[in-house]
């Protein structure tokens, strides 16, 4: 019984259904592991022990009644930018310290309805703004493969929790790579679905036109099962899509034969860590071996992606974060006038990266600058979209590295925001274009740090991501590697 936490979701599901162990036992095993490892990893802002055990108990009742729902009784970790009714949700920001949401995010509610057991709320860069969790208002999460290094971000808490087997699966959010980049750094799988595939209701907004709820898992199958549960239209989110959700597990097993795979030439330019380039090239060869038809494609506007992203994301953020004024909820610093109260509340409540982005975005939207910055960025965004449209006329999926390098050291990039922004160079395009993408492990560098392979698929073609990823994982063992802790 000591190895319950070593089980994948799919294995744990089989054990629960057969009655080998109960959800309470499984949940307790994870809580014990969290207790043991958390001082080292610091993935959780809040471990919801009572809530977890109560959910596990009711899951056991359903299991006893013969309920075979796939996620019933399975523990999950939730990034702290998704609201949870009656449970503090802070976005790792001091300005939301003590904020208890009166409602639960649609994606989380769907997991609760499916019988999942929430273990806790995971750490993130403040308001999901960052690539390392170093911008968390509370503490920095450690990479389980090397605790001197960052787990990536912003969903670093969720990624580290899954990589260290403190949770079998987790929810994160991805605005510019915030599930894929930490998945690559932590050696696990993460999917960023098509914009609108999963409801954003209850996802505390960073950049509304880019935000997606994403899923972390140790393998493709587990990840697909969780996405299956949260995908679909939500009447509370007008940007969520009405399209049917296909059965991912069936689609997943269809093999690679005849699949046309594109490799963008722009993704192998200077600045790519040689071991990353080598591992990704090897993975591409593996795809060819498995029957895929590999060819070069071009995404010519990729070079403008980072600047486009940081104009649009910050512009939207400057507006989305205006509600944190201390008037209705969260921390308030009272001063003698309204405007001084605003200044003190926001000045003390927000961290420096959040302030930097609010100022950037406010500037980009200002009268006289709007056309030159925000409007122009929207036009380039359209060009980036059409890059993908054109490429997907020729190929079914696009392969490349998830990140230009493996996990960097804590503190290494904190003095240089631009350097930090560049770690998202391969991931922001999917958010700008609205397409879906997935990161999965494809090797290790010389220091034993995981490397991520990124797969892009067209609008609403998540099944194709899982099909490609599953075929690759059937042939490789990278995803079965775990850090020694």
């Amino acid at each position: 019984m000591t190895t319950l936490t070593a089980l994948s979701l799919t294995e744990a599901r089989a054990g629960l259904q057969k009655g080998d162990f109960t959800s309470v036992e499984l949940t307790q095993a994870y809580l014990d592991r969290i207790h043991a490892l958390e001082p080292k990893i610091q993935a959780f802002l809040n471990v919801t022990t009572d809530h977890a055990l109560a959910s596990a108990k009711s899951a056991d009742q359903r299991l006893q009644q013969g309920d075979t729902s796939p996620l019933l009784g399975i523990p999950v970790a939730i990034k702290d930018v998704l609201t949870t009714k009656d449970i503090e949700t802070t976005c790792a920001s001091k300005i939301l310290k003590g904020y208890i949401p009166p409602y639960t995010a649609t994606s989380v509610q769907k997991l609760f309805d499916a019988g999942m057991v929430m273990l806790g709320k995971t750490n993130t860069d403040e308001f999901a703004m960052g690539s390392s969790t170093e911008n968390s208002g509370y503490f920095t999460t450690r990479n389980p493969w090397d605790v001197e290094r960052v787990p990536g971000g912003s969903s670093g808490g969720s990624a580290a929790a899954v990589a260290s087997q403190m949770a079998p699966v987790a929810l994160g959010t991805d605005t510019g790579g915030s599930v894929r980049q930490p998945a690559a750094y932590c050696g696990i799988v993460a999917v960023k679905p098509t914009y609108g595939r999963v409801s954003r209701y209850g996802l505390i907004a960073f950049a509304s036109s880019l935000d997606s709820v994403g899923v972390f898992g140790q393998n493709i199958e587990d990840t697909a099962l969780v996405l299956q549960a949260i995908a679909g239209h939500d009447p509370c989110d007008s940007t969520s899509l009405l399209a049917e959700v296909p059965d991912y597990l069936t689609e997943m097993r269809k093999g690679l034969e005849g699949m046309r795979v594109g490799v963008p030439k722009e993704y192998f330019a200077d600045g790519l860590q040689p071991e990353v380039a080598a591992a990704v090239r090897a993975a591409i060869d593996q795809f060819e071996t498995l029957g895929a038809d590999v060819r070069e494609v071009s995404l010519p506007n990729s070079e403008h992606a980072i600047s486009t992203y940081y104009l649009i994301a910050t512009a939207e953020a400057s507006s989305n974060l205006a509600r944190y004024d201390g008037v209705r909820y969260g921390a308030r610093k009272n001063e003698s006038t309204l405007w001084d109260t605003y200044r003190a509340t926001r000045g003390q409540g927000f961290g420096s990266e959040v302030k930097r982005r609010i100022m950037l975005g406010t500037y980009a939207l200002s009268s006289g600058y709007y056309d030159a910055y925000y409007l122009k960025a929207q036009k380039v965004r359209t060009l980036i979209k059409s890059d993908f449209d054109r490429a997907f006329e020729e190929v079914d999926i696009i392969l490349g590295p998830t990140t230009p390098s493996t996990a960097f050291k804590i503190g290494e990039k904190t003095d240089d925001p631009l350097e930090m922004y560049l770690s998202d160079i391969f991931t922001v395009t999917a958010n700008l274009a609205g397409v879906c993408a997935l990161s999965l492990p494809c090797g290790f560098d010389n220091q034993g740090l995981p490397i991520g392979l990124q797969i892009h698929a067209p609008f609403l073609q998540e099944a194709r991501l899982f099909r490609a990823g599953y075929a690759y994982q059937q042939a490789t063992k990278w995803h079965q590697q775990h850090p020694t802790l």
Binding site: L82, T83, T89, C91, L96, Y99, P101, P102, Y103, A105, R200, Y201, G202, L203, I204, A205, A207, S208, S209, P235, C236, D237, S238, T239, A315, E316, S318, S319, L321, A322, R323, Y324, D325, V327, R328, Y329, L338, Y342, T362, L365, S366, S367, Y370, Y374
Partner: protein
């Protein structure tokens, strides 16, 4: 002596109107719309309209339908694709730190409305745009320096209508305001109540030398709780600006408030520096698509509007233009009138009684005409009263007295006539007796009549009528009196 030239000025005025839409729920959430003056604070609120983290707006379809109705009534082009935008600014009554509105691509554009002027002419006023947005919460500032916020109003659907600067006088502003309000009421999308802020009108006023086509500095007037005040404030502000220029001063672009007590406009205090609202398209809402079919469906079920109704009153009911205009000026009046017609009343007679007698009683009582549905007289009762006159049960003068009783106390005219014994005296022998008595008591007047002074007959008629307490049937009394006088000849 050389001629001195004085500059003549003309006002240039545009109106900005905010109308809360009478939808059951708010613009972007399902909270009920309540009367903020009577509902306990913060009882009609939810996570969306209090701007909790993570919430998203969902467009109220009924609000869009209402906005399209107004757009069609104002002869606007309805865009099949319009876009919501965020207007960003900080204030405690704005829970998200931005208001969802429409900016570059409003739902309704390029319309017009014809207004009727005192001189009988009509004037076409351009409508620049009409767009949907959400209302703010309501702040209450206490004396101890704290402020309270009521979010019941937060997120209520608002329609903002902006005219072209085509209005040239306070009279035109008033005519436009009345007609627009009538249309909103006819459509059932707004109750027209300006005292509670359900309908708000803000004139933008500037003046310029007649003949010039440049626009001079404008001011905006807020705080206007009735159409009458909109007109008064406009007139005041026009005079203030002209006298400012004439005394060598400059008008400053600013927002003025209307001081009801002093009947003047005053600069509003506490305004922050010029705002940069940083408008950008609302990423939480896809572009609003309205199909041509839906627009036509809405057009087909629109109620009859004032101009069409007025024409129908003239063509089908035979009313004159003045009477028809007065009756259609407000939905409540037209509805009252049409109810009375449906009870079998003669339209011309009814129009006359309503416009002359009922409005006189209401006016004396301080009521506005559109409050007609609140008075005690019911349409069927006015019809019954007119029938009593037609049937010669009572005469016109008695009818006016009965109407006053009906207005003051309510009740059925037949009952009132019966109870107060007001029925006309039609019995010839009673009339004859009264006549003979009056003639006997006035021998001098009789003699003057006999000498050919015919106008004395009118005096004697009055005396008989008085003797019978005004109840004599005039049509019988007249010939009888004449015969009686002739008889005295012999």
């Amino acid at each position: 002596m050389g001629a001195t030239t004085t500059i003549k000025y003309e006002p240039v005025i545009g109106l900005e109107i905010h109308a809360e839409l009478l939808t059951n729920t708010k613009m972007f959430c399902r909270c009920p719309v309540v009367d903020p003056t009577i509902s306990p604070p913060n009882t009609a609120v939810c996570v969306v309209c209090t701007g909790q983290p993570g919430v998203l707006p969902v467009i109220n379809k009924r609000a869009v339908e209402y906005a399209i109705m107004v757009g069609l009534a104002l002869n606007c082009e309805i865009r099949e694709t319009s876009i919501f935008a965020r207007k960003n600014y900080f204030y405690p009554d704005l829970p998200k730190g931005y208001q969802i509105s429409q900016y570059e691509y409003p739902l309704c554009i390029n319309g017009w409305l014809d207004i009727e002027l005192e001189n009988g002419q009509t004037k076409r006023i351009g409508i620049r745009r009409a767009h949907l947005e959400e209302d703010t919460a309501k702040n209450t500032h206490l004396n101890d320096g704290t402020s309270l916020i009521d979010f019941n109003r937060s997120g209520v659907a608002l329609l903002e209508i902006v005219t072209e600067p085509d209005l040239r006088s306070a009279e035109e502003v008033e005519a436009f305001a009345r007609k627009l309000r009538a249309i909103l009421q006819y459509l059932g999308v707004n109750n027209g109540d300006m005292s509670k802020g359900v309908l708000r009108m803000e004139p933008n006023i500037s003046v310029r030398p007649i003949g010039s086509d440049e626009l001079w500095t404008r001011t905006e007037v807020k705080n206007l709780n009735s159409i009458r005040n909109v007109a008064r404030a406009t007139a005041y502000e026009i005079e203030r600006q002209i006298s400012t220029y004439e005394s060598g001063g400059q008008v400053i672009q600013q927002t003025m408030g209307w001081d009801e007590l002093r009947q003047i406009t005053v600069p509003q205090r506490g305004k922050e520096d010029a705002h940069d609202y940083r408008y950008f398209p609302e990423p939480d809402l896809p572009p609003l698509q309205v199909s041509h079919e839906w627009i036509e469906e809405i057009r087909a079920k629109m109620p009859e509007l004032p101009d069409v109704k007025r024409q129908r009153y003239m063509d089908e009911l035979g009313l004159g233009e003045y009477d028809a205009s007065v009756l259609v000026a407000d939905r409540a009046i037209a509805e009252w009138f049409e109810l009375a017609v449906s009870e079998g009343g003669d339209p011309k007679n009814l129009a006359n009684w309503i416009i002359v007698e009922m409005f006189r009683l209401m006016n004396k009582d301080g009521l506005e005409r559109e409050q007609i549905s609140e008075i005690k007289i019911q349409p069927a009762q006015l019809v019954a009263l007119i029938k009593l006159v037609e049937d010669r049960i009572i005469n016109n003068n008695t009818a006016k007295k009965v109407l006053a009783t009906m207005y003051a106390e309510g009740g059925d005219p037949v009952e009132i006539v019966k109870a107060q014994g007001l029925a006309q005296e039609t019995d010839s022998s009673v009339l004859q007796a009264a006549i003979e008595q009056v003639l006997d008591e006035n021998p001098d007047e009789v003699q003057r009549w006999l000498n050919g002074e015919e106008k004395v007959e009118k005096f004697l008629f009055g005396q008989v009528m008085r003797a019978l307490k005004g109840k004599a049937d005039a049509q019988i009394l007249g010939p009888l009196l004449n015969t009686a006088l002739r008889n005295r000849h012999e």
